[in-house]
Symmetry: C2
Subunit: 208 residues, 2 copies
């Protein structure tokens, strides 16, 4: 009896998939934002000893890297969805992906800070950069499409994508920095800022 009970729990508990469960727990802690993300807090939440994670990750940095990768994968997903939903106009696509980007950072501040915060070098760090590069490609696609269709000027594609990314990234960071600042209309305000920047950029980007 006790054995069969144990087997039932084990499906979601921990034997084959402790690695994945730990990553999810870390993401959940960041999402809730109350608790500190600690190797010990993650292990405790899963119900495992605080040294168990060392069997699946290269210490705390290894776990953090895996969480950051998940973040970049989702960032790529939401921006790509926004791009597809924006229709065929490259101008609309660029604005939509920028908005999706800023919303992602605003809604997941702790995860976003982790993704772009200082990382120790290492092999897992390269995988993080690869995930970030994949997310970056969404913007490259937008610019490439705009240039290809003749809507945009013949700008350097990756250079323009880099500028767009830097702009939304910088804006997101500035929103997250001033968490205690006056003005609860932060969310709408930053979107207006992006709109203004977008219209200036577009005057330099559009062909006609």
């Amino acid at each position: 009896m006790a054995t069969s009970d144990r087997n039932k729990d084990d499906k979601t508990y921990h034997h084959g998939n402790l690695r994945a469960v730990l990553i999810d727990a870390g993401l959940a802690i960041l999402e809730e934002g109350e608790q500190e993300l600690t190797l010990r807090s993650v292990a405790k939440r899963v119900g495992v000893s605080h040294t168990a994670p060392y069997n699946h990750f290269a210490g705390k940095d290894g776990l953090l890297a895996e969480i950051a990768i998940r973040g970049f994968e989702e960032l790529r997903r939401v921006t790509d969805e926004a791009r597809l939903a924006a229709g065929s106009d490259a101008d609309d696509q660029l604005l939509a992906t920028g908005l999706a980007y800023i919303r992602f950072g605003s809604r997941r501040p702790a995860l976003y800070q982790l993704m772009f915060g200082p990382r120790k070098a290492g092999v897992s760090s390269e995988k993080v950069e690869a995930a970030g590069a994949a997310a970056f490609e969404v913007l490259v696609e937008v610019i490439r499409g705009g240039v290809g269709s003749g809507r945009f000027r013949q700008v350097d594609i990756r250079g323009a994508a880099f500028s767009s990314w830097a702009l939304v990234h910088g804006m997101t960071q500035m929103v997250l920095d001033r968490t205690g600042a006056p003005g609860a209309d932060k969310g709408t305000d930053i979107e207006m800022r992006l709109l203004a920047a977008h219209s200036i950029t577009m005057k330099g980007l559009l062909k006609s």
Copy 2:
């Protein structure tokens, strides 16, 4: 004899100005980049017990806030100097301040990350934001001058300044993130990126 020796040392040692000495020590640790910035490491470098800082700061966060303020003051200084050295053309001024901004972040990566990293809320945090706002005003002046002289279109001044700041801030962050990335020509590369972004932005900003 021992007393007079002691008095000589005390001038730079610690009695009246321990507070300032601790801030300098923290900045020096960040500058060197080898040591971890820790309340204890700062105290040790100054030659004082690790609890002494509590007489001058609200814990570690209080010291960190003071260091960040110093950083923003210097950021304001270097961008303002670049603005003045760039002559009277607002276009040149905008590019020069952007370059000075990115160079500041590139040369003081640890300090820059501290300035824009997650800060705990508190009174000292407000002073940090005030120092950051003062640095921001340099860019506002550039845009205001460009609009006033008729060189720039009649854009929203603070909105355009915000966009410019976000752009260089985002670029700086992206340079600092990829510390281990391939391509040692990082420094020159990012400046070319900024030039490209600047020329696109200018097409939307300039009047004629």
